[in-house]
Symmetry: C2
Amino acid sequence: MKTPTIPLVSALSLTAVCNALGDPVRMKIAHCLARSGEKNCSAFEVDHISKSTLSHHIKILREAGLIQPRIEGKQHFYSLRKDDLNQRFPGLVELILSASEE
Amino acid sequence: MKTPTIPLVSALSLTAVCNALGDPVRMKIAHCLARSGEKNCSAFEVDHISKSTLSHHIKILREAGLIQPRIEGKQHFYSLRKDDLNQRFPGLVELILSASEE
């Protein structure tokens, strides 16, 4: 399976990033990855959502440039693009980490 | 005219703030206010949108806790809640300021 593309750091837009994070499920996924590093999508700590809904949220996070995929066999792993985000939007990863109490 | 209410600092949610900023017009208004302080809504540097659309965007920014209104006669002035945002989401105002090149 071909690994989906992700936007270049220079193409990241704060509006698109905020739009992606402006949903409770996606904020939870981003927070989970910010805290724990790479994870299989089955371990995202989001309950009661269908596989297709989860795929939709992952696609929005990926296209906004927040997460990157890694495919290993039939497994999909995701991680937050911390270095890229720190370079383009300093302070954003810390803000995502602070979103825990919401 | 009664001044519309704004949420308490303790009630601000990063998800709601991101949702409000995840729109190009609203990001532009927030950036404009972050740069310049209080402004009348006619000076928001957003072109080609109707008065009712602008009111809608202002309402979303206000309800998310990003801006506060001040009414003087028939004039409505708005400012970014910089102190409150710095207290609740350190680094966010700087991120909004950095959004200029989008």
